[in-house]
């Protein structure tokens, strides 16, 4: 269920948030706890997920406890779709 979600997320994070289109983000790489994505970009990611997958991510869920890598975020999205 998550196979087409993860690449779309990885592409968005690399291109729009990190502005390094060639950067490869591993599916289990820590995104939030490592500081790769700051709290402001996290909202960009949430808005992207909401627009693209039509899944609501609550303000209280934007933290490393809810999801910290691409796998966890993809699962969250797939679960809610």
């Amino acid at each position: 269920m998550t196979e087409n979600i993860t690449p779309a997320l990885a592409k968005f994070i690399a291109e729009k948030i990190l502005k390094q289109a060639n950067k490869v983000i591993k599916p289990d790489e820590a995104l939030i706890s490592s500081g790769l994505i700051d709290s402001f970009s996290l909202m960009d990611l949430a808005l992207f997920v909401e627009d693209t997958f039509h899944v609501r991510i609550e303000d209280t869920e934007l933290n490393a406890q809810s999801f910290d890598n691409l796998n966890q975020l993809s699962e969250l999205i797939a679960f809610r779709r």
Partner: protein, 479 residues
Amino acid sequence: MAITQILIAAAAAFFWGTVMRERGRAWFLLAASVVVIFWLQPALPMRGFDFWIPVATLIITIFSWYITANEEARRAGKNRFVIAVVAGIVLLLNLTRYFPVTQILTASRPPQIEIYFAILLVSGLAFLILTRLAKFNAALLSISVIALILIFLAIKIPALTYWVSYGLRVLVGQSLTEVKALDFRWLGFSYLAFRIIHTMRDRQMGRLPAIDLGEYITFVIFFPAFTAGPIDRIERFIQDLRRPLIAPGNDDLLIAGQRFLVGLFKKFVVADALALIALNDTNALQVNAAGWAWILLYAYTLQIYFDFSGYTDIALGTSRLLGIHLPENFSSPYLKPNLTQFWNNWHMTLTQWFRAYFFNPVTRWLRALRVWKRPLPMPIMILLTQIATMLLIGFWHGVTWNFAFWGLWHGLGLFIHNRWNDLTRLRAAAWAVTPLRQTILNVSGALLTFHFVALGWVFFALSSPMTSWQVILKLFGVR
């Protein structure tokens, strides 16, 4: 919390966690937490109020549970029993006024029982009227959040606290010649208000699970975390509370014990020793040489960390004995390479609270905002949200100019780091291709961040902007 109080609380937790285990654990947690809020409340010069403040804490908590609970949870028969137990414990504490010995569980001799009965009667009646009249909807929850914030302000703004002390003295007919803002102290209110507001906001968003009254009270006033956090989330807390406490393995006991002892050492050995030379209002005026000023500031910077994270270790160790795994609050914040990372690892449960209930909703709102049909420029949004959030975190500690400057300092620092990172990220990544270069970046970043945070503490440690500014001048050799 004094060391004897900590040791007694930990001994009780150890006894229940290892001998009694699951037998009556939920009741023990509730009863112990109720007793502890009376036990820790400092003495107040207004007669009887060191007893009435914890009573008010309980009434607010019970009311908050009622308006956040769903119909089914409200009707459960167990709730009446919980209220009876809580009221009974308070009655027993009140009865200790007739003991001929000095008070052990309350700061001063508890007031007349008649007043307690009158308060029970009045709050019971008010409650009945409210449940008949008020509609339990989002508006009532919003009003309650505002009411909590108003109480918060009355406690945190010195000028208002003065008038609260004044009013309470009038109420009990005491002399008005000695009124001071410091007369009124509500132990633990900042933490309990934030735990309650979290449940109210989650209820408004329809995300709050069904919780019974006993669980709710235990969450809000949970004794290991009552005075110094962490601020847990209720859905996480009740999972631990509902999971039966099986015999703790040796590993569990070892980890809990280790955590507790490390906390005691950090707080009562390291922090208390550093406190002797840490920057304060008195020594700030006595020191003139830049070198000495830096020593005072370094001592304060380390003291506040060891003090606060020591208390957290004590809370985490004690609660782990009882099967409650409270969230971490600190993760080596002073070793982080930039200010954003520092704030991800300092008082984490407070910053997460502000992110969830302030920063994220405001950011979401600003993103959708159109000024002359155009979205706000990104840097403006970042500047606004960072400064507003950090000012509020400053005010959480106290509504004074110095906490405002401290919040502003960090808000600006976070904004500058964000912009700097945006500008240099690619170049830094291209330069730091060897482990040595990466280490050079990390170490220099950590040193810079540490000193930025330390300079911010000048405003936090001292009470007047003037003295703080003089200390900053001294630090840089300008007099």
